[in-house]
């Protein structure tokens, strides 16, 4: 077996050193009735590289890859072009096959990268500090709600109807067990967000208000009023960003008064990958630093006075604090954070702004073209690179019929909000820099055909 270097002679020599007659002697603590006498049933024997690759190639061919077709899906995961050097760099063995940097003297590469990553995320979000990553946007969102409860010592969180329904679903799952109260609702298929309702709902029991920016329908709105009302009542504003590229074009939530900003970093450097691994971003005001979840990298000096980096404030964390930790998270998304950071460095501020401008322009062009399809109307007044169309009929079968015509034409809201007769006509369309004018035309024509 190609991954196992011991030879039969090595094994014999080692058993002799140990003083064991056979390998079974080393498994003596396992009760006999729990030991399998032979190989696992049903699993074939070892296989060559070529055989394994062939098996996967056949399966991969059964999937419609985004890059091979006109592609317009978003809702929390976006297809962007990733520069070739990003994937090259994250595959360097020194990054790929390293562990969490517990021994900082021989992990400065990972640690300095994390320090840079934290700074990039904090600045992008308009916050003071950021952590070294969470699993993904949805878990970062729950961690933010959970942190707000610790900070305010209140348990009622108000979730905007514009928050990604899967993020809401996760929060509901957790809240059932922790006893937190969540106020949730589904969005209307309209240009108006629910900010009036949110403002009315914030009271002295509220731990936080959670608002997605841009929201699940792609709508954008100034968060300042919600921030002001939350602060007036002693609550926190948690902003959720599922499309970080947007922040190259629009103001950061931190600038508008958000106390905690969390989100998905997948758009930058990390591919679609059918939902994971992604990278959760978590940033907040400096005063909450000791309540933050997850790893933090900090600057320090070594015994010779040279600048260096270490994991720090670990008394918040499970391996020190155990049941009193701020979170149970251990492994996070280090390599995806590297991909994010590398891509962000390649972009720089100039590139990020240009990329965002291109996304917005393409989306505006697409929206203008698609709303001309008979029966279709554009729900949004504002949007960045994603908007919602109202179709004359249920969107789910339309999406399937589009796929039959080799167009991946957006996410039907019926899939995200099952059983909602208003939302089921909604189709959320994302348009990034990878979309060509021909793709938009192909989508519009196919949509016209399907709706006819």
């Amino acid at each position: 077996m190609r991954y196992l270097p011991l030879t039969p002679a090595d094994r014999q020599a080692m058993l002799a050193t140990i003083g064991a007659a056979s390998i079974d002697d080393l498994f003596i603590d396992v009760p006999a009735e729990a030991r399998l006498s032979g190989p696992i049933a049903g699993l074939p024997g070892h296989a060559s590289e070529m055989a394994v690759e062939r098996h996967f190639s056949a399966l991969a061919r059964q999937n419609m890859a985004a890059g091979h077709h006109p592609f317009f899906l978003g809702c929390g995961a976006y297809k962007h072009h990733i520069p070739a050097s990003v994937d090259h760099l994250i595959q360097r063995g020194e990054f790929l096959t390293a562990y969490t940097p517990y021994q900082p003297e021989i992990a400065q590469g990972t640690l300095q990268m994390l320090f840079e990553f934290q700074t990039q995320v904090a600045r992008l979000y308009g916050c003071d500090v950021a952590n070294a990553s969470m699993y993904d946007g949805s878990t970062a969102c729950w961690e933010a709600i959970s942190m707000a409860a610790r900070v305010t010592k209140r348990t009622k969180a108000i979730l905007s109807s514009g928050l990604h329904p899967h993020y809401v679903s996760l929060a509901k799952t957790m809240a059932k067990f922790t006893g937190d109260q969540l106020m949730t609702s589904a969005p209307d298929l309209s240009a108006e967000t629910d900010s009036e309702q949110l403002l009315a709902a914030i009271d002295a029991d509220t731990s936080c208000v959670v608002v997605q920016y841009p929201d699940i329908l792609g709508r954008i709105e100034d968060l300042s009023a919600i921030a002001a009302k939350a602060h007036e009542q002693g609550a926190l504003l948690v902003a959720v960003v599922t499309e970080p590229v947007a922040l190259g074009a629009i103001r950061s939530p931190g600038e508008m008064g958000a106390d905690v900003v969390v989100g998905e970093g997948q758009s930058i450097g990390v591919g679609l990958q059918f939902g994971g691994p992604y990278v959760g971003l978590f940033a907040c005001k400096e005063k909450f630093v000791r309540q933050m979840p997850g790893r933090l990298c900090g600057e320090t000096v070594d015994a010779e006075g040279k600048r260096g980096f270490v994991l720090t404030l670990s008394t918040r964390e499970q391996h020190i604090r155990r049941e009193k930790a701020t979170s149970n998270i251990c492994t996070n998304a280090g390599l995806c954070a590297l991909a994010f950071s590398t891509h962000m460095t390649l972009l720089g501020e100039r590139g990020l702004r240009d990329l965002a401008a291109l996304n917005h322009a393409q989306a505006v062009s697409a929206a203008e073209r698609l709303e001309k399809v008979p029966g279709v109307s554009l729900v949004n007044e504002s949007f960045f690179n994603e908007f919602t169309l109202k179709l004359p009929k249920e969107a789910r079968p339309v999406v399937r019929a589009l796929a039959d015509r080799r167009v991946l034409g957006g996410v039907s809201l019926g899939r995200l909000y099952p059983g909602n007769p208003v939302l089921e006509k909604g189709l959320v369309v994302a348009v990034t820099e990878v979309v060509t004018p021909e793709d938009i035309e192909a989508f519009a024509n196919a949509l016209e055909e399907v709706l006819a």
Binding site: L26, V30, L59, A107, T300
Partner: protein, 521 residues
């Protein structure tokens, strides 16, 4: 005997070579690297982006009106920056990485290639199911082998890492208890458990109580049984445990827990020791997470991503979270909120936005298929053999607290007993860095004083182990003799010992312009 493969022999005992300073601060291949904030700027970019067509902005008047502060570098500078950083890292690709509990084994590159196939890497989690049948087939196939290898009923695939899997398992236990109207308040956790175990139980809303270990390093079954009662929801056991020992009484323990109406959670971090030889399902376990990034070799990536599918017993299987994949004839179904209602499912909810770590599933499945049934069994055997070889080759020079009671499983545990006054596990670890190794896990498990937990894994050759044993023996002797140079190790790493107290006392977590930093003080 040559000390290293090139045949070059360092002058032993020459002490620290004081190197002459250089103009750059570099030392030949050891290159210093500035922060991107010090070398990049806001106008430099390493990408070429087409100019947008002129459109009417729809940004609600919220256009950015202040600089973001994100520096850019050209592509050559970017490649050089991260390449230089990478060289300051230790990694499995460079050498033995014997971190106990972490299973740092070789990461096959075939798995990287497969994960990057367009049909897996470039598909959207909300794409119509008809267009992603091959991906759902991969999830289903991996799920099948995880269930088969563990002898369990079902598996929840979506948890994102080990601790997330623990949370999934504990929530399934809680959902099962609540479904039978049995609210319970407490989870029992052995003292030797990973910190994630008590943190997870608390995160799920339970009180946590510790169960002591016996002098032999195993769970005290009598103490555990005595504590069981109507308030105990479950017990979290690690097996093989964090002392590297198999919990011999596991079946009796499970029976006692079940008799008390509670459930057994098993931390599967150490599954590598028994994969293909023992099925946790045969030990009475109700839920166990599997770290795909440990046993099934998906890369650790400097701290993730991981993946923590949770296998479940018949009692817990109905409560598995959404979404999950089911096979119906030749079609793979993805069961989400909309379909689950029709099925009157008992799923306790959703743990993440999408389906979990697809990129890890492809890698783990490639690993399983590459090894096959014979290879996986050999994995466990070689992992255990390598650990026992390390244990027996060093137990004359290092204190092995449980070494007298029998073999270990996949990791060898030593304590700091017998070191010279003032010398610690930390000194040994830092000296190993100078010898070209990543140190073992230090000060864990907590039940052993100055613990050194060594997990060599099965992907190390005998020659590599012999060299490591020689190095650790040499360092241990120096620690026993009180060699003062150990106290200042490492001497040859990119950095000397770092001031962690300073980092925590005055946290600097983001870079600030020098004048800004001064102004803030």
């Amino acid at each position: 005997m040559t000390i290293n493969a090139s045949g070059w022999r360092p002058e032993v005992g020459a002490g620290v070579a004081e190197s002459a300073g250089t103009y750059t601060g570099n030392r030949a291949l050891m290159l210093e690297e500035a922060l991107i904030f010090e070398i990049g700027d806001g106008e430099t970019t390493g990408v070429d982006i087409a100019a947008p067509s002129a459109v009417k902005s729809r940004l609600a008047g919220l256009e950015r009106n202040r600089p973001i502060g994100i520096p850019g570098l050209s592509e050559p500078e970017t490649v050089r920056h991260y390449t230089r950083l990478s060289r300051q890292n230790y990694a499995i690709d460079l050498g033995l990485f014997p971190l106990g509990s972490c299973t740092m084994k070789h990461n096959p590159r075939l798995n990287e290639k497969i994960a990057r196939m367009k049909g897996f890497a470039d598909i959207h989690p909300l794409a119509p199911r008809e267009t992603v049948q091959g991906a759902l087939a991969v999830i289903h196939e991996l799920a099948h082998w995880l269930v088969t290898l563990t002898g369990m009923k079902a598996v929840a695939m979506s948890p994102k890492a080990g601790a997330h899997g623990e949370l999934c398992g504990i929530l399934a236990i809680r959902a099962a208890l609540e479904a039978r109207g049995d609210a319970r308040s407490t989870i029992l956790v052995p003292e030797s458990a990973h910190g994630t175990n008590p943190a997870t139980a608390a995160f799920a809303g339970y009180a946590v109580e510790n169960i002591p270990a016996t002098a032999e390093g195993r769970v005290d079954l009598a103490a555990l049984t005595a504590r069981l009662g109507p308030d105990v929801a479950g017990v979290m056991i690690t097996n093989p445990n964090t002392c590297g020992l198999f919990e011999r009484d596991m079946k009796a323990l499970s029976a006692a827990v079940h008799a008390a109406g509670a459930f057994v959670y098993c931390d599967g971090a150490n599954f590598n020791a028994i994969v293909g030889r023992v099925r946790p399902g045969d030990l009475g376990i109700d839920a166990m997470h599997i770290n795909l990034h440990k046993t099934f070799s998906t890369p650790h990536g400097g701290g993730g991503p991981g993946s923590g599918p949770v296998v479940l017993s018949e009692a817990l299987a109905p409560f598995a979270p959404l979404p999950y994949v089911e096979r119906q004839g030749d079609t793979f179904l993805l069961i989400e909120e909309e379909t689950v209602d029709e099925r009157q499912g008992k799923a306790f909810g959703r743990m993440t936005a999408f389906h979990g770590q697809m990129g890890m599933y492809t890698r783990a499945l490639a690993y399983i298929l590459s090894h096959g049934a014979d290879g996986l069994r050999q994995v466990a055997e070689d992992a255990v053999l390598n650990a026992n070889y390390v244990l027996r080759s060093l137990d004359d020079v290092l204190d092995a607290p449980f070494g007298q009671t029998g073999p270990c499983m996949h990791e060898a545990l030593f304590s700091d007993g017998g070191l010279a006054e003032g010398f610690t596990t930390l000194d040994i670890a830092k000296a190993l860095i100078d010898e070209g190794y990543h140190p073992m896990t230090m000060y864990f498990p907590l039940v052993v004083h100055g613990a050194m937990l060594i997990e060599p894994t099965e992907t190390e050759s005998k020659a590599t182990l012999d060299q490591f044993i020689g190095a650790l023996r040499s360092v241990a002797m120096r620690a026993k003799q009180g060699d003062p140079l150990l106290k200042s190790a490492p001497h040859y790493a990119p950095r000397r010992r770092l001031d962690e107290t300073l980092a925590a006392r005055k946290p600097v977590l983001v870079w600030k312009e020098p004048e800004e930093a001064v102004a803030a003080e």
